[in-house]
């Protein structure tokens, strides 16, 4: 790595490696492909949209690890952050 590279390089390759690894492990661990994730995401949007208006751009769905309450350590968990624009309560009334 040259002198100039040290200044102009945006980030180190070590942290790039770590981020790539984290991303690839999410799907490895859940045994779930990016295509499947996209399908899950679309289905969730469809279901939630029946009751409330959501911000599909700001939607974040991912599979992460979480500590289980049982003794079997880390388990995959579906994490979803769904920003709501407006709640359509009137649809629920009878």
């Amino acid at each position: 790595m040259g002198f100039m590279d040290a200044f102009f390089r945006r980030r180190s390759s070590g942290s790039t490696a770590k981020d790539r690894l984290k991303f690839v492990l999410v799907s490895d661990r859940a045994n779930c492909s990016p295509e499947t994730m996209e399908m899950i995401k679309n289905d969730i949007i469809a279901v939630i949209s029946k009751y409330m208006e959501i911000d599909t751009q700001g939607l974040d769905i991912q599979i992460t690890q979480t500590q289980s309450e049982g003794a079997n350590g880390n388990v995959p968990a579906l994490y979803a952050n769904i920003p709501i624009k407006e709640v359509k309560f009137h649809q629920n009334k009878n």
Partner: protein, 263 residues
């Protein structure tokens, strides 16, 4: 009380066999009765790393098939009389042995040895299943690379699915100078991702290549890797040993130091 330890990694070429040879030798140097079993049928290598390739008469498959007794197949190490190697077969394949047969063999050895160390083949197929069948404890060897860590993660999942609870990590071939300038994942990065207990950090050290060339494990020798393996052995035996600080100097600083020493 005997303990059966499997050395595994998923990915090939990360240092399983070198780790097995050094941990086996190191534990023997502490007076323990140790047997190392090469479970990589068809691609045997632990014999050459130990420098015992000329002494093989019978192998693991011979024992399992009943062509000889266990005692006849075990090779006594040339340096330590309490260290033995059970070599694998070179001309057979992984399906020659079943997990049940391996478990039975390992259990028979428990009476006589303090530590039974299994050198696992790369991959997650039959050879891996054979190696983990009788194990109480697993040591995962990985290097700070994306591919090796990904495979290690898969192996950890498979071990947990097989109810193997005691899983510890060796981060091998780390280069502190590269970590320092951000071009290699640090031990903390690796632990952050794999989330298992750390049992050792082995630096990338030329002495390993030299030791392997000569068929002499370097555990306990005056080299960074030698000291790192010695520390792992102590931790295996239950001692609390601090993780050592490695030389973080790059090649440039090393040269400057050499010159300084000259004055």
């Amino acid at each position: 009380m005997s303990e059966v330890i499997v050395i595994t990694s998923g990915k090939g070429g990360v240092g399983k066999t070198t780790t097995t040879a050094n941990l086996g030798t190191g534990l023997a140097m502490h007076g323990k009765n140790v047997v190392m079993i090469d479970t990589d049928i068809g691609l045997r290598n632990l014999d050459v790393v130990m420098g015992l390739e000329n002494r093989i008469v019978y192998n693991l498959v011979d024992v399992v098939e009943g062509n000889c007794r266990i005692k006849q197949a075990m090779i006594k190490d040339k340096r330590h009389p309490n260290l033995f190697l059970l070599p694998s077969a070179q001309t057979r394949d992984k399906t020659s042995v079943s997990p049940e047969q391996m478990k039975k063999l390992v259990d028979e050895l428990r009476d006589e040895f303090d530590y039974i160390i299994l050198d696992c083949p790369a991959g997650i197929e039959q050879g891996f299943k054979n190696a983990i069948a009788g194990a109480d404890r697993a040591i995962i060897v990985t290097t700070p690379e994306v591919s090796a860590i990904r495979d290690a993660d898969r192996i950890i999942g498979l071990l947990q699915a097989n109810e193997l609870k005691k899983i510890e990590l060796v981060v091998n071939r780390i280069r502190m100078d590269m970590v320092k300038r951000g071009d290699m994942m640090s031990v903390d990065d690796v632990l952050d991702i794999l989330a298992i207990d750390l049992i050792g950090v082995v630096p990338d050290d030329e002495s390993i290549v030299v030791a392997t060339n000569e068929g002499e494990p370097l555990v306990g020798s005056d080299s960074e890797a030698g000291r790192a393996y010695e520390n792992i052995c102590r931790r295996l035996m239950g001692e609390q040993v601090d993780f050592m600080e490695f030389n973080t100097d790059g090649i440039f600083k090393k040269i400057i130091k050499l010159f300084k020493r000259g004055y």
